[in-house]
Subunit: 244 residues, 2 copies
DNA sequence: GTTTGTATTATGTCATACATATTTAATGAA
DNA sequence: TTCATTAAATATGTATGACATAATACAAAC
């Protein structure tokens, strides 16, 4: 490695687009532009910044991709309230995410489900409880006595819980995470018999029991119940840890 | 409104860039390209797809903005493992997010902190516990007997907890959420005396007590302690609900 | 063998032109 | 005047051609 000369820091090699993007963002801030406001034209930016329209376009395109700007074809561009979740959607592809990230997202789900109890109790209404009841009954009907773990039933029940949390962002987040779980299940649980837990572990908590707890219990009791319901998944998460 | 003619669906008015973006993504998938692999040149894409280099560039730029592609200046482009979190960073600007989103992100934090107990206990090691101890002591020293709520102390303690969860994604997520909380505190707690809780509510749990619980307790007891520690914030979250 | 020069190459940047839908202004007919 | 039609101006989307620049590889020179 060539030795580092003193007093000679590397020159700024960043691209123009990078700089323009920063300038644009600070421009919006300084002018106190809010979502809905329209912004200057590409050419105006180009002239003011002393760069070509191409560069401005690319910088604006970045912000558009991030959801900060809305562009209507022959009208102009306006500031937009960014949709947190939408940005995730396009990259939440299990085949592109690394093993470690997938694992961490899986843990993320466990954390969310453990932590949402208070919001469930705070916002629970009869209508939702009825629907949850229906979901559990449908599940029990198809399982015909035998306790069977099926992914779609899981999704139906837990998805309803997310919905009942009354937090749209959380809900959408869960929607995004679904394919990840699907993927993790298909790949990591090949040799894991989740059913085993249902029989071997006397403490296992079913959806029915969670539902009842949500009816007559408290956030505290519900969390404990949920913890036991998720026992196999926690085991799975922690076991993988040990293996690394 | 003009009547809708039968058998005449509107023509595809989507931009070329949109289509090219989709084509590119499916190209990567079909050719089973994985992170690290290099992809064809802009001109090759342009020729194959029958569009100008401009369009290809814009489509590629989108994917780059999303973190799916890495572009090195005069070498070429390679597929990249997208960094889930990085995308958030640029848009997580409290002044751009809506009131409702801010509120939901605030709730998100509560959910996370309530749900991470099991991971704290699973991964806790002496070194981290010592550091946490140091944080609490520093906090107690500066507060000089008087229990005082200061944001930086909160961040230090709870940030350490996130770190101890051993989940990098969760950690980074928390980092992103910090400015949001900062903002929420500055705006929503003007008339709210959080200190009041420390004295009026006998059940209030301090950082010191949380630490002790983490030492000698269980995930279950820790969750309950955390719930009481977060009591003012839960109250805040639920009170806002009622007001709407 | 190390250095230096050179050609190639892919992205980054610039300039120009045109297409098209939107908006606004102008025009003309009733 | 009022309404409908036309025309002009406008902003983004797309195409094309050109050049700059740095990375790479290879040849040349010492």
């Amino acid at each position: 490695m060539a030795k580092q000369l003193k007093n000679l820091k590397p020159v700024d090699t960043g691209s123009l687009v990078d700089k323009v993007e920063v300038r644009l963002l600070s421009f919006f801030k300084e002018n106190n532009l809010k979502p809905g406001d329209s912004i200057p034209k590409e050419l105006e930016f180009a002239d003011s910044l002393g760069v070509s329209r191409t560069v401005v376009r690319e910088a604006l395109l970045r912000l558009r991709t991030l959801g900060l700007i809305d562009s209507k074809k022959h009208k102009g561009m306006t500031l937009k309230r960014p949709d947190i979740i939408n940005n995730f959607a396009r990259i939440m592809d299990p085949t592109l995410l690394g093993e470690d990230t997938l694992k961490q997202l899986f843990e993320f789900r466990l954390i969310l489900e453990m932590g949402m109890a208070d919001f469930l109790f705070e916002h629970k209404i009869q209508k939702d409880m009825d629907e949850l009841e229906a979901i559990v009954e449908a599940e029990e009907a198809t399982s015909s006595g035998k306790i069977r773990f099926t992914l779609d039933k899981e999704v139906a029940f837990h998805g309803k819980l997310y919905q009942m949390s009354n937090n749209i962002t959380l809900q959408k987040f869960q929607d995004l995470l679904l394919p990840v779980f699907n993927y993790v299940y298909q790949n990591d649980t090949k040799n894991t018999d989740l059913d085993g837990y249902h029989f071997s572990n006397g403490q296992f908590v079913s959806h029915r029991m969670l539902l009842k707890n949500l009816k007559v219990g408290t956030p505290e009791t519900f969390r404990n119940a949920m913890r036991r319901h998720l026992e196999p998944h926690f085991d799975h998460a922690f076991k993988k840890d040990a293996g690394k």
